[in-house]
Amino acid sequence: MNDMALQVTDLRKSYGDLKAVDGVTFSVATGEVFGILGPNGAGKTTTVECIEGLRQPDSGEIVVLGRAFGADDPEFRRRLGIQLQSTGLYPKLTVREIMRLFTAFYDDTLETDALLDLVGLRERQNAPTAKLSGGQAQRLSLALALLNKPELVFLDEPTTGLDPQARRAIWDLVHDLRREGRTVVLTTHYMEEAEELCDRVAVMDHGHIIELGTPRELIAKYFRETAIEVDQVDGLTAEGLAALPAVGQVTEENGRFVVFSAAVPKTMSGLFDWAQAHSLELGQMVVRQATLEDVFLKITGRRIR
């Protein structure tokens, strides 16, 4: 009926005194990959599980694929694909048996073999699910969320705890989903994941959405500057760096100074001059774009992890 796959208005959910979700409003357009980003405990999973019907919100309106969503509506659930953050499967059934089981819940599904190839589990198809590694279990869980060719897919921290290679594989799958025009809502606490995958990102903290926009917009809004990372060496101080031309802000992380500059050439030449004048041997330097991580640090004063 409209081009909105999901509309959430003033969603609230408390556990005792804790306001896990405190007035969250956002909408997701059809075909969009929408990220909910935030540290653990920000309220991401509670938000998504309210939308999925796993939790009863205290108040607020949720419209999924154009209709108000009730928890017990099997017919409607056929149009959704859901990957839960924490889930279990029959431990003694094999990967293939689990896929066939879930295939039986739907009318129109992907072919099991094709799906096994898609998530790279064909070699493990006869393994009991209890014997899968974390990454394999996560990919199986993803396969179950995709096998009904869903219009709207929820992925709750799909890559948490996975090695870089496994994470890459899942990112590729999400890229495929976007190409096919499916709507994806994913939560993550990895900034680079949100930047890589999402069209738009809601940054959540303490049950609120504190920022919402495309990754580029958010970075541009908070950082017109570029980040220059400089190794800390004797004689180099944050104050000294802050006094260089075009420098907005200096932060420290992992033994490096991060210098945010509005004009990299000016800052750089200032830095070289200053080093020469003080006979300083500069260490490694990296010039990079500001990231969502920088944005989060700037808004909340905290790192995301």
Partner: protein, 365 residues
């Protein structure tokens, strides 16, 4: 229907691949029935009373008495050992005999002269079967001997009539009772504990977001477990007839319906326990308490008469009492504790109470 079938098969595979569940729900009850049935079944049969006989008198009366003891009709109920008095008393001490009867020298002569003769009978007061069966048998035998000695005609003879439909051995009590116990275990260990585990491992949660109605999920799980109960019943009946030598009663056609009612009721009880248990530790604790109480207070492990009077009222509130009673009645025609209709009504009533309670307290996570 497709979803139901798939879930039913998934449950079946999980169960069949879970060796512990198989052992507890299928093999253990059969082993128990076999164990109790064999012990008590064999004990009372054939060479039931092992009697030692020392013959020191060789007059016609003694010969007559020995002939009676050695007759084929006696051989059915006693195992006779004839030897010296001393040797026999030794065997009695060792527990090989239940009683020793001595026919003393001069027995024939003195009784013929109308003299009362004391006949020594040895028994072992520390042994129940010696004081009970051994001494009892010898006493009644000597009564018969008195008649023989007086050459009195036997005016009153015993015509043994079993109140049970067929001549049964004591396994008749244990086999159906153990089947009842098997249904309890199916509900407590085969249902409640795996369900709580599935909930803790978040399997139920994953099913909750699939396009399934709660009804389909529950029906598939209950359906599979009731199937297990029915398979168990058939195995039990076959085992009872073929191995334990039981003869099925006249109401044997009611075995499956009663077992079905029992399976459904106890599996539902399992769901109720799972609904009440927040963690698997809690489920194990509740399951143990329910299992212990029902096993010992339901008159399934031993006959209800053996229950101390103080605990007798507890028997009436154990649902298993009614299932075991009903199964004993329909399977082997055992004496009823309650009319069959009462048993069925109690089980069905419990089921009707449990279903809404379970739905009320049920949680997917």
């Amino acid at each position: 229907m497709k979803a139901f079938t798939a879930l039913y098969l998934a449950n079946a595979r999980e169960f069949v691949r879970d060796r512990l569940a198989m052992v507890i729900t299928i093999i253990m009850p059969l082993a128990f029935a076999g164990f109790f049935g064999m012990i008590f079944g064999q004990g009372d049969q054939a060479a039931g009373i092992r009697l030692g006989l020392a013959v020191q008198d060789n007059g016609p009366l003694s010969q007559q008495l020995v002939a009676i003891l050695e007759s084929p009709s006696m051989a059915e109920s006693i195992g006779l050992t004839v030897a010296d008095e001393e040797k026999l008393v030794e065997s009695l001490r060792a527990g090989d005999l239940h009683a020793v009867l001595v026919l003393p020298a001069g027995l024939t002569e003195r009784t013929a002269a109308g003299e009362a003769v004391n006949v020594p009978v040895y028994y072992d007061p520390s042994s129940q079967s010696s004081t009970g069966m051994g001494l009892g048998f010898v006493r009644s035998f000597l009564n018969q001997a008195n008649l023989v000695a007086q050459s009195a005609p036997e005016l009153i003879t015993v015509d043994e009539r079993s109140v049970m439909a067929e001549k049964q051995n004591p396994a008749a009590f244990y086999a159906p009772s153990m089947l009842g116990l098997a249904m309890l275990w199916l509900g407590v260990f085969g249902t409640a504990m795996p369900l709580v585990e599935m909930r803790e491992k978040k399997v139920l949660r994953r099913l909750a977001v699939a396009p399934l109605s709660t009804r389909t999920v529950l029906a598939a799980q209950v359906g599979w477990r009731v199937t297990v109960g029915m398979v168990q019943t058939i195995l039990f009946v076959a085992f009872s007839v073929l191995v334990l030598g039981l003869i099925l009663g006249r109401q044997a056609h009611l075995i499956l319906p009663i077992a079905l009612l029992g399976a459904v009721t106890f599996v539902t009880l399992g769901y109720f326990i799972a609904a009440l248990s927040p963690t698997s530790e809690a489920a194990i604790a509740i399951a143990q308490v329910v299992n212990f109480a029902m096993t010992f207070l339901s008159g399934s492990m031993f006959e209800p008469e053996f229950l101390p009077a103080a605990l007798r009222p507890a028997m009436y509130i154990m649902p298993l009492t009614y299932l075991s009673d009903a199964l004993r009645q329909v399977m082997v025609g055992f004496r009823p504790l309650f009319p069959l209709e009462v048993d069925v009504a109690v089980l069905a009533g419990l089921l009707l109470v449990l279903v809404p309670l379970t739905i009320k307290f049920w949680r997917w996570e």
